[in-house]
Amino acid sequence: MKLKYLLFACILFVCFSCGEKKSDKVIIGVSMLSMQNEFIQQVADALEKSAATSQVELIIVDAERSSLKQVEQVESFISQQVDAIILNPCEFEASSPAVDKAKKAGIPIVNVNSSTKSKPDAFVGSDDAESANMAMELIAKKLGGKGNIVMIQGYMGQAAQLDRERGAKIVLAKYPGLKLLATQTGEWDRAKSMALMENWIQSYGDQIQAVFAQNDEMGLGAVQALMDAKKKQQVYVVSVDGIKDAKKSVTQGNLDATIIQNAGQQGSEALRLALELVQKKPLKESNMLIPFEIFVK
């Protein structure tokens, strides 16, 4: 009796394994940091667009900022036997096991936008420190190397926050005349950063000459607070990312500048590199940095 069940199970198993035929299309699994973030969504859009033109099937999943979830998603990509994986890591250390597992399974993996401790087969992104560096240089130029700045930080401890902070500090060290009056987190959030700016206007009044916000959402919050207090004319505000709202605000003359991180190019290059890895072509460069652009009126 038992044997019969066992036999039945074996037949079932064989049937299912046969049924799982691999299609001719290249399948690439994509795990994104968070689809609630406009910038990340732009990267995902670009991935989808270039996948459509190059006949690639994408499986895009959202890790919702959890590196644990991200590792699990990559594990399921491995068991689905995808041809390549594109990873937009949640965290530098904690997402590393995802890269290790893919490499061990022999599936090519490309990191996009941010990096992990374990080295993937290829990386496409931008150097976060550089964007902050460019933003601060703009401020330094505007103030003539002398003046008071406040900095609105991203979510404390995240790679982007740490790198952007590092980039900003390099410029601050270069110009001893620039004084960092205060720094505080706005948690990447427009409303939080607006409240923070309102508080700073109270405590520093007219001393603030420039604001560096570590992303556009927070830059826009600061601009709103300054406009309400009728102080925008005296304060120079620069932020990083180049999201749609920020560009519009720059054209309207409210936000002074944003540093554009090219989401479209990051997405399309990541897909191109992943495809080349699938086709086993030798890569010209496995560490691809997309340059930033300054967007001013």
Binding site: M156, T183, A195, E198, N199, Q202, K248
Partner: protein, 318 residues
């Protein structure tokens, strides 16, 4: 003097009032920028969203329930009002009324599930919290909604007779909720079912109906908070309001409302909201680092509630 002593010893909010005065004194001794008319206006402006949320959920908590879906409701309603007032398609009033109705309907959904299924409200609203966040993302396609009606921006950042409009909403909501809770039969029923649901039922209180109403009130005020938040930042953000439910519930509890239901006041909630708002503002003014702000905030909240407990005990002995 006698009245003052009576205020501290008779009213349940005396403890938190004392704590509020204490932190205000502390901050004004540390910076001269704290106790200025404009900074007070800034604080009131900043707490308006949390206050309005907290007033609404005070009814739910007094009735013995809880509403964890507040933050998500703020996001959904914020997105709805943004969509309705985008590109001047509809008049502002229509957008606002539509959003308020949406808030009441979502609150009613919470209430209906709680009443019909008898599943603990903690679980029901935890579920609707997740659903709400998803709905906000679906409606907005995951992106901030901008290009809003100019007059909506005025609601969030303009002023009337020199008073910022969010503060007017705060005052109006306070008055409405305070009267509703203390001067109406409905208010008495809310306290009754929170105190002893079975006894109220036996005494002829329509328990289910009152429960449904309190969730609808919570939804209505969440919608109002969502409208104000969207107006203040001039965009509808699907990820707005994350964690707002915790701030609102914390304010209610700090304000002396019992977590077991049955008693509580809107004035207490207002003081709880101000307490949190003053600490947030003060820590920014004296420029405490972001890491320490969280530690200090948590510490002060626990301390305030502990002190309030001791104070209540002391009061019994007077």
């Amino acid at each position: 003097m006698k009245e003052l002593k009576a205020f501290f010893t008779k009213t349940p909010t005396g403890g938190i009032f004392l704590a509020l005065i204490l932190v205000c004194a502390l901050f004004s001794s540390m910076t001269s920028r704290f106790l200025t008319p404009t900074n007070i206006s800034v604080i009131l402006n900043q707490v308006s969203v949390n206050a309005i949320l907290a007033f609404g959920v005070t009814f739910v908590i007094i009735a013995g329930g809880i509403d964890l879906s507040l933050g998500s409701l703020v996001a959904v309603c914020g997105v709805v009002v943004a969509l309705l007032s985008q590109n001047n398609e509809y008049s502002l009033w229509l957008a606002i009324i539509g959003t308020l109705i949406a808030g009441i309907a979502l609150g009613a959904l919470n209430g209906i599930i709680v009443v019909l299924t008898k599943v603990p409200p903690f679980i029901v609203t935890l579920g609707t919290m997740t659903i709400g966040r998803g709905v906000a993302l679906i409606l907005s396609k995951g992106r901030p909604i901008s290009d809003l009606n100019e007059s909506l921006n005025f609601l969030g950042n303009g002023d009337l007779f020199g008073i910022p409009i969010p503060i007017l909403f705060l005052v109006l909501s306070y008055a409405t909720c305070h009267i509703l809770l203390t001067k109406t039969i409905f208010g008495r029923y809310v306290k009754a079912i929170g105190g002893n649901e079975m006894a109220s039922y036996v005494a002829g209180v329509r328990v289910n109906r009152i429960k449904l109403y309190v969730y609808m009130i919570s939804g209505l005020f969440a919608a109002l908070a969502g409208i104000l938040l969207t107006a203040r930042i001039n965009t509808g953000q699907p990820n707005a309001g994350l964690g707002f439910e915790l701030d609102a519930i914390a304010a209610v509890i700090i304000g002396g409302t019992s977590t077991r239901g049955g008693k509580g006041t809107i004035t207490g909630t207002l003081l709880g909201v101000l307490f949190i708002g003053v600490i947030n503002n003060g820590l920014d003014l004296i420029n405490v680092s972001a890491y320490w702000q969280q530690v200090i905030m948590g510490g002060i909240i626990i301390l305030a509630v502990v002190l309030d407990g001791l104070y209540q005990k002391l009061k019994m002995n007077i």
